[in-house]
């Protein structure tokens, strides 16, 4: 584990923002931190980066209690991010690197190689305000990376990115993971998380309501529902299953929900009997959005029961 938290609590005035957060973030993987706005993600990250202190609880980095030294092994791209407008791009990147105790030579080499990758070599000496928004975002991303962190924390990294830059960023995140960097990615955009993350935790109102490996979570939440592509007559409801329309770009595609303990074989036999031409059938994956909504509702239900 690159990072573990034990019973992290944080209160602002009378509001409990984080409530007993226990999380384990494995090395070399992408860990998704999901939750709606105001769930406590940013507060949690600020505790991990020692920007603020938790009221109680412990953070372990690489097995030992988190120290100031460990902070220099982290790279952090905050959700609220910016640059010194009047300062040269390379100069401020060097400044950020120096704040992370990076030797000058190493920082310069790192800046050069990232600037080449991001096509920023000819703007390194310009003040940041002369750069386009997309370029500035790339510079901000570089600022989190030039000291070659072991753990990279990205808070809503795609917010404000256009699709081209977002793809570029996505590719780089995956490349970093391939090079062994551990990454925490916080977002309220479920698709992003589904696309990138190996592990995730769902946070709502300061509590972890679901966590684990993405594949496992999806498997656990997948239901006995099937996407059917067909030709010929439209499938009809019957005693064993129900037909639902669902949101898909494909034509002639429906969702089949078998009633309890009806096997796929039985469904297929009946469909064939209806004269439906089966082109393709697959189990429907549970979307993170639906899992999330379900988990939140379940959590609320539990709380109500307690009350």
């Amino acid at each position: 584990m690159i990072l573990e938290t034990r019973k992290i609590n944080k209160q602002f005035q009378s509001k409990l923002v984080l409530n007993d957060i226990n999380l384990s973030i494995p090395k070399g993987s992408i860990f998704g931190l999901l939750g709606p706005n105001g769930a406590g993600k940013t507060t949690f990250i600020r505790i991990l980066t020692k920007i603020i202190a938790a009221d109680s609880g412990q953070v372990l980095f690489d097995g030992h209690p988190l120290s100031m030294e460990d902070i220099f092994k982290m790279g952090y791209l905050p959700e609220e991010r910016g640059l010194y407008k009047k300062m040269g791009v390379e100069e401020q990147l060097l400044f950020f690197a120096a704040l992370k105790n990076t030797p000058l030579k190493k920082a310069k080499d790192s800046i050069a190689s990232w600037a080449k990758k991001f096509d920023l070599l000819n703007v390194l000496h310009k003040p940041a305000e002369e750069l386009s928004k997309g370029m500035q975002q790339k510079v901000q991303f570089m600022a989190a990376l030039i000291h070659e962190p072991k753990l990279l924390i990205l808070d809503e990294p795609f917010s404000g990115f256009d699709p081209i830059h977002a793809q570029l960023l996505l590719d780089e995140i995956l490349a970093l993971k391939a090079n062994g960097t551990s990454i925490i990615l916080s977002s309220h955009r479920m698709e992003t998380v589904e696309q990138l993350c190996d592990h995730l935790a769902l946070i709502n109102k300061g509590k972890v309501i679901l966590s684990g490996e993405l594949k496992q979570i999806q498997k656990n939440h997948s239901k006995n529902e099937w996407e059917l592509e067909f030709e010929g007559p439209i499938p009809q409801n019957n005693a064993n299953f129900q037909i639902h329309e669902f949101n898909t770009p494909k034509t002639n595609c429906v969702l089949i929900k078998p009633l309890s303990d009806i096997s796929l074989n039985q469904v297929l036999i009946e469909l064939i009997n209806q004269g439906v031409q089966i082109k393709n059938i697959k189990k429907q994956k549970a979307s993170m959005a639906s899992i999330f909504i379900e988990a939140v509702a379940e959590n609320k239900h539990k709380l109500n029961q307690h009350a």
């Binding site: 005035q13 920007i51 982290m74 905050p78 609220e80 300062m87 989190a144």
Partner: protein, 433 residues
């Protein structure tokens, strides 16, 4: 400490390299020189007006028994004229002014000055003085005093030395010169706190509004960020002052020659009496240098300068961290700048009046006002015990204000979009890390 220096270094370099810094550093002494040059020029010009004012005295009641002697810029003529002819006479520019002497209701002499343009305060006073002297002299002569005696009496002048007795030691006190030095130094402190304190605040706002601050605080503590900023900006100010001092010393030679020439040519016209010039030059001579303890003043100046800047700089930093943008700063700057402005105004009133007193002693202790107030008082001589306790209060004051500000800074930097009130400052202060 390493981080603080890094921050300070960045603050210093980015500011010093700005074109506006170089421009301001070079231009402001020139502007100040120009400013004083103009004042100086106008002063000399006032003493030597190019044009002679001609005054027609219409003495209806024969008040003046003798003619009135003309001075450098004013010439008196006697004549007879009707009141309704005054305007015509003035419009025709035969005379600039008409002085009418008549009787008022009670039978006393009444003097009125007629003109078609506004008469300046100085000119009016000058004419009044000439007339009064003339009347006094006439009265004296009429009472049998010899004119030579009157002349001799007028030349009498007493130089008053003030001597302070303390601990059985009597020391000559050149309080005028000391007061001037003190006030100039106090003014320097005032300007420095204002200019650079506001820069600390702006710096914090800039980092906050450009959203760079969270990147920074993920590698450096917010309080270190504040210390670095305050130190870096102080270094900018010091550099600026150093440049000014060097420029000043460099320009001193040629400039003093120039001023000397100016004074020479202008003074010879007005002051015929050599004794008067000698008297003048003695007054601004170097004698006071031996009496005023310059090294002490300098050391204390540095102490109050740094202490005052740290005290106020931290408060400005707190405001900068708490607000979201420049426009919100006004209401929160008020309570900070008020005591500063007050101390300058108060110290102005202190010059020439008694610098000791209960209120003054109190203000000399208060860190809000002591840097300015004490600087004015020091050349007059301040008891050591009072000096030491004032400095201790200032040290305690800036430690408190830095502590207070660092708490605000830490919380304020990361909070956006809140409606800010004085209560929210308190909340920020109370909030745990």
């Amino acid at each position: 400490m390493h981080k603080i220096l890094l921050i300070a270094q960045r603050e210093f370099l980015t500011r010093v390299r700005k074109k506006s810094f170089i421009l301001m550093t070079l231009l402001s002494p020139l502007l100040i020189l120009l400013f004083y040059g103009v004042i100086f020029y106008l002063n000399i010009k006032n003493q030597n007006p190019d044009q002679l004012r001609k005054v027609l005295v219409v003495d209806d009641i024969h008040y003046f028994k003798q003619t009135i002697p003309s001075e450098a810029a004013i010439a008196f003529d006697f004549g007879k004229l009707n009141k309704h002819q005054f305007e015509k006479e003035l419009v025709n520019e035969h005379y600039d002014l008409i002085l009418n002497v008549c009787k008022d209701k009670n039978g006393k002499a009444e003097f009125s000055l007629y003109s078609i343009e506004n008469v300046g305060f100085m000119l009016k006073e000058q004419i009044a003085r000439i007339l009064s002297e003339q009347v006094q002299q006439t009265t004296l002569i009429e009472n049998g005093i010899a004119p030579e005696l009157i002349y001799n009496v007028k030349q009498m002048h007493i130089d008053l030395k003030s001597i302070l007795i303390k601990d059985h030691n009597a020391t000559a006190n050149h309080s005028e010169m000391g007061a001037l030095i003190g006030f100039i130094l106090a003014f320097v402190i005032y300007i420095f706190i204002f200019l650079y304190g506001v820069q600390v605040m702006r710096g914090a706002i800039e980092e906050k509004s450009s959203r760079i601050v969270e990147i920074l605080v993920s590698s450096v503590k917010a309080t270190d960020l504040m210390y670095g900023k305050i130190i870096g900006i102080a270094a900018v100010g010091m550099t600026q002052f150093m440049i000014w001092i060097i420029l000043g010393l460099g320009l001193m030679g040629p400039l003093s020659g120039l001023i000397g020439q100016l004074v020479d040519t202008s003074l010879t016209g007005t002051i015929q009496d050599n004794a008067q010039i000698q008297h003048l030059s003695q007054n601004i001579g170097m004698e006071w240098l031996n009496e005023v303890n310059l090294p002490l003043i300098f050391v204390l100046f540095i102490c109050y300068f740094i202490g005052g800047y740290l005290f106020y700089g931290a408060l400005f930093a707190a405001v900068g961290a708490a607000v979201d943008n420049d426009t919100d700063t006004q209401q929160f700057m008020m309570p900070i700048t008020m005591p500063l402005v007050f101390s300058l105004i108060y110290s102005q009133s202190m010059i020439g009046t008694n610098p000791d007193g209960l209120l003054t002693s109190f203000l000399s202790m208060l860190p809000f006002t002591s840097p300015v107030i004490m600087m004015v008082r020091i050349p007059y001589g301040v008891p050591t015990i009072e000096l030491v306790s004032s400095l201790l209060c200032l040290a305690a004051g800036f430690m408190l204000s830095v502590w207070f500000a660092s708490k605000i800074y830490r919380v304020g930097l990361l909070s956006y979009g809140n409606k800010l009130t004085y209560k929210s400052f308190w909340k920020m202060f109370r909030q745990k890390e």
